[in-house]
């Protein structure tokens, strides 16, 4: 059994209440930080822990915190990114729903480290019931003196609010999130300046993922060095993985970084193997935007080493033969899965979610969806595979925000590793069953 630091108490009855959470050691990191540590000492522990952002990019959290500009007389903000909209990712929801105080505790400790007196949790609109859970927990925390003026009798004060978004994937991109939080249209900003210098209302701001912030509590409690001992190399600590697809036990798992991919898929502790005794075909390891890998490349690297659940191992081989840990949205596909149809679903999503600010993403995502549609209705030709490849290459790296890449990468990877499936459909003018899309459209209309 791997160690668990974030959701070890998820089955405890009423752990969502302050009373039970506290009885299980909750809010200890706030006590320790506020009473015995300076803000810089907290930041130092986070640096030592090697914690990397759990929102997708994996940027070292301690470093991000130390970049925060601290001009005199200007407020600073901590904003928690709870927009979790990447298809295949649902770990933040699990954490917030089951143990809301873990996030609130992390927000207090982290806000103290950053010197923020007002912090926000920006949550996607579809999670409205989770927002209610958080709001209830925040009320409890205020009543018990964990939030508000002079927390624990110190001179540190913090207000925490929940802001519900309108349900747009793009508002998970940190600068679009800040625009939305300011009450404006959720368009990503052109960087620089970065949020660390000019973020929310032009003030220095740190944006962190839910899981990143929750991980600060165990780091403060056990010390950064202890935390860094878990995991392998630069992939330290534990990580929540949202496991979905054709597996026996879909769900959210906390793993110690470094678990072999094969063990994660097949062991009873985690996914429990492929359902109905089928064979594994492919895995999207880090949320819908990361490159898909076929069985042979997800279980072993091109060099023949076992692939591990770490940032480095999953990325081994670059995009030619590797992928990314991303947000930890682990989507497993069995031998009966149509890669083309799956790609259509992803592409349709990115097309729908593009904000439309920059030409390559605005126009290119829709074009890719239309080309893919031809593969589904049996009108595609071999030329369309090359066209699709070319269109994705004209989007990638040429856009304002990484949504362009998020749309291009899955297309590139599907063609790279499964080109034969595209060609087979094009040559045989095969139809792919899309009846469920039609049903979906009928419902919408």
């Amino acid at each position: 059994m791997g160690r668990k630091l974030l959701i070890h108490n998820d089955k405890v009855p009423n752990i969502h209440t302050l009373e039970v959470y506290r009885a299980h050691g909750g809010y200890a990191s706030v006590e320790k930080a506020l009473k015995t540590m300076t803000p810089d000492q907290v930041t130092d522990e986070v640096k030592k822990s090697g914690l990397r952002g759990r929102g997708g990019a994996g940027f070292p959290t301690g470093m991000k915190w130390s970049f925060l500009a601290k001009p005199e007389g200007v407020p600073r903000f901590l904003v928690c990114n709870a927009d979790e909209s990447e298809p295949g990712t649902f770990k933040d929801r699990y954490l917030m729903e089951k143990i809301p105080h873990a996030l609130i505790e992390g927000m207090i400790t982290s806000s103290y480290a950053l010197g923020a007196n007002q912090s926000y949790i920006y949550i996607r609109g579809e999670y409205f019931y989770v927002a209610r859970i958080l709001e209830q927990a925040i009320r409890e925390a205020y009543a018990a003196g964990w939030l508000g003026k002079n927390i624990l009798g110190t001179n540190y004060s913090l207000d925490l609010s929940v802001q519900v978004g309108g349900g747009a994937y793009i508002c998970g991109e940190e600068t679009a999130l800040l625009e939305s939080l300011e009450g404006k249209r959720g368009n990503p900003r052109i960087k620089p300046p970065f949020p660390a210098v000019a973020g929310l209302w032009g003030c220095p701001t740190v944006v962190n993922n839910v899981e990143t912030i929750a991980a600060v509590c165990p780091i403060v409690m056990m010390g950064g060095e202890e935390y860094a001992k878990i995991g392998i190399g630069k992939s330290t600590g534990t990580k929540l993985i949202s496991a979905s697809g054709h597996i026996n036990k879909p769900g959210v798992y906390e793993i110690e970084l470094g678990v072999p991919v094969e063990e994660f898929i097949y062991s009873e502790e985690y996914c429990g193997g492929i359902r109905n005794g089928k064979k594994l075909k492919a895995v999207v390891a880090g949320g819908s935007s990361v490159p898909i890998l076929p069985t042979e490349l997800i279980l072993k690297t091109a060099k023949g080493e076992h692939r591990l659940m770490t940032y480095e191992s999953l990325a081994d081989g670059g995009f030619q033969t590797g992928t990314m840990l991303g947000s930890g949205g682990f989507i497993v596909m069995d031998e009966d899965t149509s890669i083309v149809k799956n790609l259509f679903t992803f592409t349709r999503f990115y097309h729908h979610e593009s904000c439309g600010q920059c030409s390559p993403c605005r126009e290119g995502t829709g074009w890719m969806e239309k080309i893919l549609k031809k593969f589904l209705n049996g009108t595609a030709t071999e030329v369309d595979v090359d066209l699709l490849w070319d269109v994705q290459s004209k989007i990638e790296g040429k856009t304002i925000c990484p949504l362009g890449e998020a749309a291009a990468w899955p297309v590139a990877a599907a063609i790279r590793h499964f080109k034969h499936e595209f060609l087979e459909i094009a040559r045989n003018k095969k139809f792919v069953d899309i009846s469920h899309y039609e049903r979906l459209n009928a419902i919408k209309a």
């Binding site: 001009p71 249209r185 620089p192 000019a198 439309g356 030409s359 390559p360 074009w367 004209k394 040429k398």
Partner: protein, 327 residues
């Protein structure tokens, strides 16, 4: 600061963007721009036609930048080296951007008032492919009248945000510019509310394509059959310095004067633009120079400055900071 663009070195002040530096060298190395507008704050970054490759970040950090950057929104660094037309990769990327801009564009140039002075026509001509690879139905919208003077032909819009920034910065008090998202995004008709503003007509001049056109000129003549002359009048709202588009003795259209980069020199008021259509309204200076470069003069701009101050005040009141300025 010394920066090298396509092998040509130039010394520019701190805070200059790659695009501005390239323009200082000359039109040969200046990347094409569809959304940047030097007179509009926070413009640029959207269309991606001005992408360049930074092969050396700076003298201090010589690493190349991993992705192409929008030259209009990237400031130069000491010792930076940039490739524009000398990079095959950039030319290929630009071709891609032009194709993206055109796949949903109607290309109805024969009936478009912008033909002849359209930036998209120029761009397509210089960087586009001869044949489209797009086989699907193009996006279509209804035409919209924005008041009785301006026509919005959304089919032709490339979402460069210039009109949005103009309405925000030159006319006062407009918040929303775009509704919907992705390829369903539209310039919003809330723009109608800006029509009673004295400077709203400037959105026509900043529009690089035929999406916003002057209804008082619509279909009167092809641009190339009219003769541009520079003229001025005494105007209490703007500088009164305009360009008249004449056919014989008739003034068919009044616009602001544009510089070498096709940007207006000074924004003009709606009275000059829409209501002064008689030769006797104007003091004719002579034929317009083909291209000219100048900056907005400060004279005669009290009204405009006032508006800008108001916008700034508003932003301050809301607690916004100029995102162009770093603290």
């Amino acid at each position: 600061m010394k920066v090298t663009i396509d092998g040509i070195e130039i010394d520019v002040p701190k805070g200059t963007t790659i695009l501005q530096a390239a323009r200082m060298i000359g039109p040969e190395v200046a990347p094409p721009t569809m959304c940047y507008y030097s007179k509009l704050k926070t413009s640029g970054g959207y269309c991606r036609t001005c992408l360049v490759k930074v092969t050396k970040g700076s003298a201090q950090n010589p690493n190349p930048m991993p992705k192409p950057v929008a030259s209009c929104r990237t400031e130069v660094m000491e010792g930076m080296e940039v490739q524009n037309i000398t990079s095959p990769e950039i030319l290929e990327a630009r071709k891609g951007v032009v194709e993206f801009l055109l796949i949903n564009h109607p290309l109805d140039c024969p009936v478009c008032d912008q033909a002849g002075e359209c930036k998209l026509q120029d761009l397509g001509y210089e960087h586009g492919a001869a044949k489209t690879r797009y086989e699907f139905k193009r996006r279509e919208y209804e035409m919209i009248d924005i008041g009785d003077k301006i026509k919005l032909h959304m089919n032709r819009c490339i979402l460069c945000y210039r009109c949005v920034k103009t309405a925000e910065q030159i006319t006062n008090g407009r918040v929303h510019g775009v509704v919907h998202r992705g390829d369903a995004a539209e310039i919003s008709t809330y723009i109608e509310q800006a029509i009673d503003n004295d400077f709203s007509g400037n959105v026509i001049d900043v529009c690089p394509v035929g999406a916003l056109t002057d209804r008082t000129f619509r279909f009167k003549s092809r641009v190339w059959f009219t003769k541009p002359v520079d003229a001025h009048c005494k105007c209490d709202k703007c500088s009164g310095k305009v360009r008249l588009w004449m056919k014989g003795d008739d003034v068919l259209r009044v616009t602001a004067r544009k510089d070498q980069w096709d940007e207006v020199e000074e924004f003009i008021c709606n009275t000059c633009r829409f209501d002064r259509k008689k030769v006797s309204d104007w003091v004719i200076e002579g034929p317009s120079p083909i291209s000219r470069q100048s900056v907005i003069s400060q004279n005669h701009y009290n009204h405009l400055n006032e508006l800008k101050v108001q916008v700034l005040k508003q932003q301050k009141a809301l607690g916004f900071m100029d995102i162009n300025k770093r603290p």
